[in-house]
Symmetry: C2
């Protein structure tokens, strides 16, 4: 603990801080004056720096008392606390699929993790045309392990309740999810915005469809009232850094207990956004493959952990029923997760097109009108999915409909 | 705060404590040496005393470091803390339907509430033949107000999450509910017991029916993973004190966030136990009436609060959809509560007959064989309900089947 009152660190402040942390300083090597400090903040919320020395590099993240891109939007500092707590909770479960936590200080709200300087943010890589078939299944594995391992299936309820208590204090960021993801887009709100007039009629359809609004209400209720597992809470393609062979989930500051399908849905929704931004159907096929591979990997890993009979998980929710009945219960649970996945994917697509925080995916399309048409395709897809949520029973129902809509839009 | 380290209070200790509490002492009147201290503990867990003076009386409850009726079963002291926290949370919501909290001390774990010396524990009153039609609807009102008012329908999620955090620490008593109510009866466990051999085949049926075990698993999962509202957590007829005209819910030490139907089900389950202990069908009719009146009152009050349009509740889960669609959502929610109510009622019946903590209801039946037959009737009823849970869609389905089974058993 530094015992230094909070202040925003600049490059020299960062050097001084790390000079006092022998473990981190050793990673960098050399003298602190030599260390290169490079700002890489590209998200909305925090300051992020890479600090390099002759022997290695680390990544330092500091919360600001406001939203980084909008200093008038005040925000408590504790978000790096929750990111550090999330890292500590999931790291032992997911092995190499996130970053090591090297240091956290609760006065400065500074978190230091290993640097991933050879990795690219997945959204950027996808926009640059990367086709890395290993990434999506690795994310499936990541969610399966993190979710199963923090759930009542794997842990005594006492531990789960205690961890829930920690993350139930993550109020500021949970409020952001609630407002920006699950509420604003379905009302007139000044934070919403979209340029292309072709989107407007679809927005009006979304806001006047009873089935869609009921689906959104239900998913919002589930987000707040189904604490199945510790979620990442913001698992879009910008929260993943990867090479073809090594994939890491970063930025867990939105962590909260919730429905497992929320994380799955965020990821799938962002793959769908990428899908609609791709120039032709052949290029889109890889994304269909990725979504399928993601779900299959998630499903297989989750079931594998659940049925690890040699060392049955010591969770409070160990089964009473055995044999075929136990399989029925597992299937019902997995179907519930799939329903959430598809619903939250649609919600993520909608908010990324008409809400506050858009994504860059569609920027690869040079032609303005074509870009608008692709956005409209994605928005109409998400609308239809929410409006007919009960009709999607398998991941293939979802992929088939996506393929159909994708072909129709080209 | 007394700052006195914990010790178990005797009559003199109680007088000394209250002498130092001007507000409480004034209620009693006179000098502390005059105060009568009378032990009334009859539950399993705590010491309970009535303290009377010339002007009035109060009730004092102190946690012991063990289960009162089994000193070898160690238990943390914090249960009166949760009872005090529960009282503070629900008192403003339910008006006169519980007791006022006069004092709580976290060193001694002493809770002082108003005395209900003119009231009778409801189970005792029912066993003595009381027919008080006002009680069940008052309990319906109590649950509706306490549940609605602590839910996301009435409160911003920040308040709900904060209150959930408080009660998610109630681990020792939640563990008791999990083990004694939701687990032991479905396995061989030394805490289970029953004398009447006529029950044994039904127990074996329960434990070998896949549908029943899946229903129990599902309810256990819902108990731990559906934090809809702050529950009383132990709302049996021994946690209610009443006169014909005034009804109070006491003993909220099991309070935890959970599915609203858990509280409803505990109460209904205990009415069903009483039903099967009644000597003839005419006598049973009053209980059928009470269960119906309870549910209708709960339903009406809950919907009334939800649809209070003049001052719409400021909860985070305010609806997006209006008109008929909003009614669909409400109906779905109420059906979910009814399903839980019926399921948890069956679970409560089973554990009160074959689990650790039985109830006295059947003691009014003098004949040993008849008593066994009545218990068997109740147990078989609960078994059938769990085994066919999906077939009960309304409270009348439940009452009709109860009436049928009740007639068959006489
Ligand atoms: N461990 C790391 N190694 C290298 N670069 C990193 C690392 N962590 C983050 N970055 C870079 O910093 C950027 C911002 O990081 P991050 O997404 O954690 O910040 P944020 O402000 O919390 O973002 P958001 O607003 O999306 O929550 C990333 O997009 C990435 O380019
Ligand atoms: N406010 C009160 N006024 C008068 N008598 C009371 C009051 N509260 C409790 N009692 C009496 O004391 C008895 C025990 O109280 P209570 O049920 O709260 O104790 P407990 O040990 O927590 O019980 P349990 O083991 O069921 O949880 C009641 O059954 C009732 O007879």
């Amino acid at each position: 603990m530094t015992q230094t009152p909070y202040h925003t660190l600049d490059a020299n402040g960062i050097r001084d801080l790390i000079a006092g942390l022998p473990d981190v300083a050793t990673r960098l090597g050399g003298a602190s004056a030599q260390w290169q400090v490079r700002e890489v903040s590209d998200g909305n919320l925090n300051n992020v720096f890479l600090v390099g020395g002759p022997a290695g590099e680390v990544c330092l993240k500091q919360s600001l008392p406001h939203v980084r891109v909008d200093p008038s939007w005040k925000m408590p500092l504790d978000r790096t606390f929750f990111e550090a707590a999330w890292l500590r909770a999931v790291l032992p479960l997911v092995g190499g699929l996130t970053t090591e936590c090297l240091f956290f200080d609760r006065d400065l709200y500074v978190l230091i993790v290993e640097s991933l300087s050879g990795h690219t943010v997945l959204r950027t890589a996808l926009m640059q045309g990367a086709d890395w078939p290993g990434v999506a299944p690795r994310i499936g594995t990541f969610i399966a392990r993190a979710a199963f391992g923090t759930s009542l299936l794997a842990r005594p309820f006492e531990e789960v309740f205690t961890t829930r208590r920690t993350f139930a204090a993550n109020l500021a960021l949970t409020r952001i999810t609630l407002d920006l993801v699950l509420d604003d887009p379905y009302r007139d709100h000044p934070r919403n915005h979209w340029h292309d007039p072709v989107l407007t009629p679809i927005v009006l359809d979304i806001r006047s469809s009873a089935a869609t609004l009921l689906a959104v209400e239900n998913l919002r209720r589930r987000f707040l009232s189904q604490p199945q597992a510790l979620l990442h809470g913001d698992l879009h393609t910008g929260s993943i850094m990867s090479t073809p062979d090594d994939t890491r989930v970063i930025d867990g500051e939105f962590a909260v207990y919730g429905p497992i399908g929320f994380d799955c849905g965020m990821f799938v929704g962002n793959l769908v956004l990428h899908y609609f931004a791709m120039p032709d159907h052949a290029a889109r096929k890889a994304t269909l493959r990725d979504i399928g591979a993601f779900w299959n990997s998630f499903h297989e890993q989750f079931m594998g952990l659940w049925n690890a009979n040699e060392a049955p998980p010591p969770g409070t929710l160990r089964p009473l029923a055995y044999g075929p009945a136990a399989h029925v219960a597992q299937q019902t649970f997995m179907e519930e997760i799939l329903g959430d996945t598809i619903g939250f994917a649609a919600i993520e697509i909608i908010r990324r097109i008409i809400g506050y925080a858009h994504t860059a995916d569609f920027d690869i399309i040079a032609d303005r009108q074509q870009r608008a048409a692709c956005r409209a395709g994605a928005l109409a897809f998400a609308y239809h999915v929410l409006d007919h949520l009960n009709e999607f029973h398998t991941i293939n129902d979802f992929l088939y409909f996506l393929d159909e809509q994708g072909q129709a839009g080209l």
